[in-house]
């Protein structure tokens, strides 16, 4: 087959500065082309597969870099083709120059994901594995990596395939009844289907919700810090980050811009969004900051509410919290009672009462919150905060054996579309339409689920999957 493919080349390491970088070359002429610019003890074509060779890259007579080249002969390589990996020094110049030389000598620049496409075509991976590889490359944390591995093992596919099978059964049943009404009866079928659909929708909901959990894993938990100006938000942020990023100042209202920092905890990320203090203000610039803060809070997964215990009176605090938490009562909260080092002011139990009162008056029966005493200044209690977040978001330890987590946005969209289609079937049932109308939306639902299991194919889906790959993979 090799005769039909061009030999492709790309820089396969990331864009940052690093000690070494790799230029990868794959295709029938990989070794021949590499030999045109690589000068070692022997030409690479005479070297054994899976060996590492020292040599130099030349542009005519000009020395470009000293390198190590790996020869991997087909089919024992990632792509299944002859492959040469040239380990250059990490500077962009060496890498780009080496790549350019390879292209000048007959290689074609690879498109993003092209190496993986070839691996796929050569039977090295199937489509869902390829997709999981892309997720794995993009994974930012350990858990994200593990959830991609889960996809690699096909557990999501299995779950979705089961559900799809049930939907297809119903399509087939309706069609069988259309063709053989004498022997297959549709009496009472629609109410049976209704019950079944509600159950399928529940299952889809669970998968869709797991995406949020998957999202926390993949993208981190969007966290907004709330509280009165000066309550210690910026110093809390600094305590977390361990370095001075936000401007800590005594004049209330100086933190006007939204800062975002990613904090890597064990297994997941916390995306801390520091905002201007929530305070009624007439200053137009400060007002923008306050609006922005509120907006951020609406979109957050977690709200950290900081209270300066030395600076609060019970009644004022109640009013302040009611105002600040207005419209945000359904969020997950962590209340941080700051300045425990000062040993005066409001107590944890008082705060608990006030908080419960806020939720009660907003009609929220079972709010999700925790109170933690901290000192942003000394760092006391910061470890408790980490633990509390972990408890709130990953309460049940993710069990990779029986819990399916969707962490791929394409999958989530497909699940959501499937759910929408099933709801349309419910509407058709409610409207009293004949059974053959159900099959249109059941078919849609099954097609959407098929996009996850690989049973629905099309150029767009394939492109979407391979487009996620970066250049060089």
């Amino acid at each position: 087959m090799e005769t039909k493919y061009k030999t492709i080349a790309a820089i396969s390491t990331g864009t940052g500065t690093s000690g070494i970088g790799i230029v990868r070359l794959s295709g029938p002429e990989a070794i021949t082309i590499a030999d045109r610019i690589f000068k070692g003890k022997k030409p690479l074509s005479l070297q054994d597969s899976h060996t590492l060779q020292y040599g130099r890259i030349f542009d005519n007579s000009e020395l470009i870099d000293e390198v190590l080249a790996t020869v991997l002969r087909a089919p024992k390589s990632y792509t299944g083709e002859d492959t040469v990996e040239i380990n250059c020094h990490g500077g962009r110049y060496c890498l780009r120059k080496t790549l350019q030389l390879l292209i000048d000598n007959g290689a074609a620049p690879a498109m993003p994901g092209e190496f993986t496409k070839r691996a796929f075509l050569n039977g090295k991976l199937d489509l869902s594995q390829a997709e999981a590889v892309a997720d794995l490359i993009a994974a930012k944390s350990r858990m994200a990596g593990e959830s991609a591995v889960l996809a690699l093992r096909g557990i999501i596919k299995q779950k979705v395939r089961e559900l799809r099978g049930k939907i297809i059964y119903n399509i087939a049943y309706i069609e069988a009844a259309l063709d053989d009404p004498e022997h297959i009866d549709l009496d009472g079928y629609s109410s049976e289907l209704e019950v079944a659909l509600l159950q399928y929708i529940d299952e889809l909901d669970m998968l869709i919700q797991s995406f949020d959990k998957g999202r926390f894993i993949r993208e981190g938990i969007r966290t907004v810090i709330l509280g009165k100006p000066n309550a210690g938000k910026s110093s809390l942020l600094n305590a977390f980050l361990g370095e001075e990023r936000a401007i800590v100042t005594e004049i209330p209202g100086t933190t006007r811009d939204v800062l975002e920092e990613i904090l890597q905890f064990e297994g997941y990320d916390l995306r801390l969004i520091d905002t201007a203090g929530l305070r009624k203000t007439e200053d137009p610039i400060e007002k923008i900051g306050v609006d922005r803060a509120k907006n951020q809070a609406f979109n957050a997964d977690l709200l950290l509410y900081i209270i300066d215990r030395s600076d609060e009176k019970t009644n004022d605090l109640l009013l302040e919290m009611q105002e600040n938490m207005h419209g945000l009562e359904k969020k997950i909260y962590l209340f941080l009672l700051n300045k425990t080092d000062l040993n005066t002011g409001i107590k944890s139990s008082d705060l608990d009462e006030i908080i419960k009162q806020v939720f009660r008056s907003a009609g929220v029966a079972s709010p999700t919150f925790k109170i933690i005493e901290i000192s942003a200044l000394t760092g006391e209690g910061i470890a408790d905060v980490e633990e509390a977040i972990s408890d709130l978001f990953f309460k049940e330890k993710i069990n990779y054996n029986d819990e399916v987590i969707i962490s791929n946005i394409r999958h989530k969209n497909a699940l959501y579309s499937a759910k929408t289609s099933l709801n349309k079937v419910l509407e058709s049932i409610a409207a009293g339409l004949p059974e053959d109308f159900y099959s249109i939306d059941l078919t849609d639902a099954s097609n959407y689920l098929g996009e996850i299991t690989g049973e629905t194919t099309g150029e767009e889906i394939i492109n979407e999957i391979f487009a996620k790959f970066c250049l060089g993979k």
Binding site: M1, K4, Y5, K6, I8, G80, A108, M111, E114, K117, R118, F120, L121, N122, G123, D126, L127, E175, A176, L178, D179, D180, E182, H183, K424, A431, G432, L433, P434, E435, D436, F437, I440, D441, T443, D444, N447, G450, G454, E455, T456, T457, G458, E459, E460, I462, N463, F466
Partner: protein
Amino acid sequence: MKSLPNSVWENKDKYDCVVIGAGHAGCEAALAVSRLGFDTILFTVSIESIALMPCNPNVGGTSKGHLVREVDALGGEMAKNIDKTFIQSRMLNSSKGPAVHSLRAQADKAKYSRTMRQVLENQEHLWIRQAEVVEILTDEINEIPKTIDDSENRDLIESKKRKVTGVKTLSGALYSCNTVIICTGTYLKARCVYGEVSENTGPNGLKAANYLSDSLKRLGITLYRFKTGTPARMDGRTIDYSKMEEQKGDEPIIPFSFSTAPASIQKPQVSCYLTYTNEKTHEIIRKNLDRSPLFSGFIEGTGPRYCPSIEDKVVKFAEKKRHQLFLEPEGLETHEMYVSGASSSLPEDVQAALYRSVPGLENARIVRNAYAIEYDCIDARQLKPSLEFKEISGLFAAGQFNGSSGYEEAAAQGLIAGINAVQKMKNNEPLILDRSQGYIGVLIDDLVTKESTEPYRMMTSRAEYRLLLRQDNADLRLTKTGYEVGLIDENRYQSLLIKENAIKDEIKRLITVNTGYSGALREIMEACNSTPLQSGATLYELIKRPELTYSMLALADPDRPDFPVELRDAIAEQVNIQIKYEGYLERQNRQVEMFKKNEKRLIPENIDYSDIKNLRTEARQKLIKIRPRSVGQASRISGVSPADISVLLVYLTAGK
């Protein structure tokens, strides 16, 4: 078997096209080719059996009615012929959704056949010839066409080994021609069987065609052996209809052809009758199963699962206490009644006993026995979607010869084969309807793509986009194509355009008409228990309500345009359906868009499947054998999995 004469003589008359067989496929094929101006000779073993209905005495029915209307929209004859010869008409499934409404008409069989023969005899460029064709004559292709850009020719260079040059008849006469359409139905090496009796005849004791099969085999064509069956005919004078449920025709009668004026065909109709088998019937069958040639292995052919014999049904649905039987008249000038639902190949004495166990048939006398028929047909995967053989240029095939069953399936293929024989002779691209354009598209795509292990019957469930492919809109879907091909005349096309625009404009108008809640509208809505309007609504919104229709609201819509009387009902029906089911139609249209993407992704003719490592072996073998035109067609081949299609798609896009 007679021996063929050694002497050969050349017929000097020149024909463009030879059609072999004058059944429902052959008639449509011959009419299409000759109507398009090409000289055509139609061979039949018996002129008396032109357009013969050897089995059920009706045209249409679930999904088959759709085919008939599509044939009509493309300029075929079947719909017109049944409109002239029907004796009862019903719209089936009218209580269900519009996708499954299906027109079915009982035919006066003799009149149907006679009338079609008249049409053929009066057709310019068409000659009928009673003779058995025994050989297809071909030549090697040795000249390379000059215009290699045109895809048909390119395909000649790459895969065609032979081209058709003519046919030879039993008497040794040679007829040269450019195209041949084989429509031999169930006649090839036909054998009729019931019990221990076996006769080498075609249906109804007609002469079988015993030589052509061997000629086809010599050309490298793979043949299958299929079987089908027909029930007994009873003498109507011996049936007690009082024990049966009468099934009357519909009033008013809806014509099959879009060109037949409804007023012209309103007439008295005859009835059919429903009765049921019972435990006694089933007991008789079970006790005698060992005498059935199907169960004893005397018949090897594979029968249709979806048109099972009564013994098949008793075995397959062992839990069912009864099965429906319909008594259907075979014509106005005969007492013969067809026993629908009870085809059989049991011995004559068992047949007599089992029919007489049925209420109303206690004293019935058999006129003709039920029998099974075995015949040669082809593996239709040897055909292109144009119905031309992949390996023999100019040789086309249609009808039961392609492994289908049913008159309507045959007619549809005959029409398409005829059209494409002409397209070939004119050097035009073939007419290929896809699965979103018609049941005809589904039928042919299935035949040429999927392996048939039994006679293929059209069914509603086979059409994925059935809400769009309704029998009521076949004209809107296909008349334009028929016009472009040349089988639909200018008048009919103009009339279609008027209808099409009227529907569009009327829907637009209904969106803009706001009504209050008073007078006629209030009365209509109260009568229908429709929720009263708080403020006004548009007529468009009201039609969407399940309990209201476009026609019901006529009195509340004083500005409704005055449509031509012959189009009025049809326009009302389309407006109503298009508004009421708008959301569903839109969603199905989106499904079609998705479908078309894979259909339009054509696979190069010279693709080397052995080059794609990740294809599974089975998929690779099937793809090499069938050589699908498009990724869409490839995806429907059994044994080619979605994963294989992904591989194919990536291969087609991968940088080479």
